[in-house]
């Protein structure tokens, strides 16, 4: 098992130098054709261990098929994929993998505790360890009160939660989450975020497939934009702050003089009522800007560096074909 925090902050530059053993996922030219229709054109991807990696792309971009190939559910037409250092689909490696399918469906005649016990048994876990693990997980996903309730009486959100618990049974080294928050209310989404964070601290790798850009933005270390089953671009979300940064300042008494005053650090400044938006070439300048504004008497309520909007980039990539 990996140590907490290990390689959690790996940047894009380092990835190329990663030896294969340190990669949770590595694919080269992975392709899938269903009855003459190309689902995934050529997926080449490297995800280091310990990273929270987001898969972004429009509907039909081949995200789920890619995940299924990595999990061994779908056989690639061509190309190679290794997962935790073994060929994708390797039965032994699945012991270290957790998976929440997109449309989580399971034997709805089971109760939630029975479902977890069954999956635990399929993972090869002992009855003794399951006696401890099952209540823990039910508690974690907020279903402790529903341990004896059958899944057929569960709401979509509850199914998503039990699906998530099922994906964590074996303390996996690699977790695939396909649209984990699609059926969840804001509290549920928060829960998923917290769980992903906890997995990161444990040193696990998470591959997150989500439509919700804000979720991905908050959760992921790196994202790949997928279109037609190809990686168009990967982005390191942690390093975005190192380069040009846009800062949003909300203050009650901003003046045009103050806006002019910060121009020496900024490449662009815009003032509108109580809101000042400025782009700085380096985030190193941010403390200076803040000190300056305070020294001029600005009553600051918010000072937020903006991550480059994923949404903007997503829409650029998706173009007019979009269809979230």
């Amino acid at each position: 098992m990996m140590q907490a925090g290990e390689s959690a902050s790996t940047t894009a530059g380092q990835i190329a130098a990663q030896p294969a053993a340190d990669l949770a996922i590595a694919t080269r030219g992975l392709r899938k054709v269903f009855d003459g229709k190309v689902a995934v054109r050529s997926l080449t991807l490297e995800v280091p261990r310990g990273e929270i990696f987001g898969f972004l792309g429009p509907n039909g971009a081949g995200k789920s098929t890619s995940l299924k190939m990595l999990l061994g559910l779908v056989a690639p037409t061509r190309g190679q994929a290794t997962v935790l250092g073994h060929p994708a689909g390797d039965v032994g490696t699945r012991r270290k993998i957790g998976f929440l399918p997109e449309h989580f469906r399971f034997y709805d005649w089971l109760t939630s505790a029975e479902l977890l016990r069954l999956h635990g048994r399929l993972y090869g876990m002992s009855h003794a360890s399951l006696r401890q693990k099952v209540p823990e997980l039910l508690d974690l996903v907020g279903l402790a009160e529903h341990a004896g309730k059958r899944l057929r009486d569960f709401s979509k959100g509850m199914l998503q939660r039990i699906g998530l618990a099922q994906a964590l049974l074996n303390d996996p080294e690699l977790i695939f989450l396909d649209e984990p928050t699609s059926g969840l209310d804001p509290a549920g989404r928060r829960l998923v975020r917290d769980i992903i964070k906890a997995q990161r601290q444990r040193g696990a790798t998470v591959l997150l497939n989500s439509h919700l850009l804000s979720e991905v933005e908050i959760t992921c270390d790196r994202v790949a934009f997928i279109k037609h089953g190809e990686v168009i671009e990967t982005r390191d979300l942690n390093s975005l702050l190192e380069g040009q940064t846009t800062v949003l300042v909300r203050a009650s008494n901003l003046t045009p003089e103050m806006a002019a005053g910060v121009e020496k650090w900024a490449s662009s400044v815009a003032l509108q009522d109580h809101q000042l938006t400025l782009a700085v070439p380096s985030r190193e300048a941010l403390p200076e800007v803040l000190r300056y504004l305070i020294s001029r008497g600005a009553e600051i309520y918010e000072f937020t560096p903006q991550r480059l909007s994923l949404e903007e980039r997503f829409l650029q990539i998706v173009g007019s074909e979009g269809g979230l």
Partner: protein, 276 residues
């Protein structure tokens, strides 16, 4: 290990979804009906002072009718309970969470197969055992060679199970059911053509029946089962679903066994190779 877990889940599913209990209840109702009918029949025969040979022959024939109904019930029940297990779970995506666990896919198929096979064995044992007990209790008559007849009927059920599994890895639930029961119908018709052909000494008709049995040997198994369960005298006298004007060879029984094994093998192979 995975195989046994899947077998257990399959059995538990049938119990939880009440399929098992309904099948048992229907089986018990069937036995109750049979017992009631036989009771009145025996009462009437005794009152009339029937001769002792006929007094054995009539309940013996009723027993064979009952066994024939059990055979049909078992075949249909085998297809019905297992028709959705692979195709349904593939279509709904339910199989994904299982197939990504550390167990080879063959264990999923074999486990499910074993679960259903165990269930059908219990079902068949209940009905065949029950009807023989009832007939013995009321008329001191049982089928001639129950173990052999039971084994042949069991093989018929297992054959249908393997075929349903095979189709289940290729087609939707409905198509699977249509195909499996269609084959049973074909074998049924072929069996009759063969019998009539044998009685009228029409070799071509017999051959049509044999070809039908090669395509689907279920009816041939029933005829072997019927032959081993009824008294040698009755099998010569009667022309019925139990008669053996043209008795399928023991090679056909071996063929049916191989057929079932091959169907299961290809079901496993196709499930292991297909995308889920």
């Amino acid at each position: 290990m995975g195989t046994w877990i899947m077998a257990g889940v399959t059995f538990r599913e049938a119990a939880r979804k009440k399929i098992l209990w309904m099948a048992i209840a229907a089986g018990l109702a069937f036995l109750a009906l049979f017992g009631t009918g036989l009771h009145y029949q025996m009462k009437d025969l005794a009152a009339r002072g029937m001769n002792p040979i006929l007094l054995k022959q009539i309940p013996g024939t009723m027993l064979m009718v009952g066994l024939y109904a059990i055979d049909l019930l078992t075949v249909v029940m085998t297809v019905l309970v297992s028709v959705d297990t692979l195709s349904g779970e593939i279509a709904s995506g339910t199989i994904q969470a299982v197939a990504t666990k550390p167990l080879p896919r063959w264990q999923i198929v074999l486990g499910k197969w074993l679960g259903f096979a165990a269930m059908m064995t219990a079902y068949l044992a209940l009905l065949v055992g029950g009807i023989n007990l009832i007939t013995y209790a009321m008329a001191r008559v049982t089928a001639h060679n129950v173990p052999q007849g039971f084994a042949l009927m069991w093989l018929e059920s297992v054959l249908l199970l393997s075929i349903t599994f095979f189709f289940g890895t290729h087609y939707s639930t409905l198509t699977n059911g249509v195909l499996a029961l269609g084959l049973v119908g074909l074998a049924f018709l072929g069996g009759w053509i063969e019998q009539i052909g044998a009685v009228t000494s029409t070799t071509s008709a017999v051959n049509v029946g044999i070809v039908a049995s090669i395509i689907m040997p279920s009816e041939a198994l029933w005829r072997r089962a019927a032959n081993s369960m009824q008294s040698p005298l009755a099998s010569v006298l009667n022309f019925s679903p139990f008669s053996s004007a043209s008795l399928p060879s023991s090679t056909m029984v071996v063929y049916a066994g191989v057929y079932a094994a091959v169907a299961l093998f290809f079901a496993i192979r196709s499930f292991s190779r297909r995308d889920l």
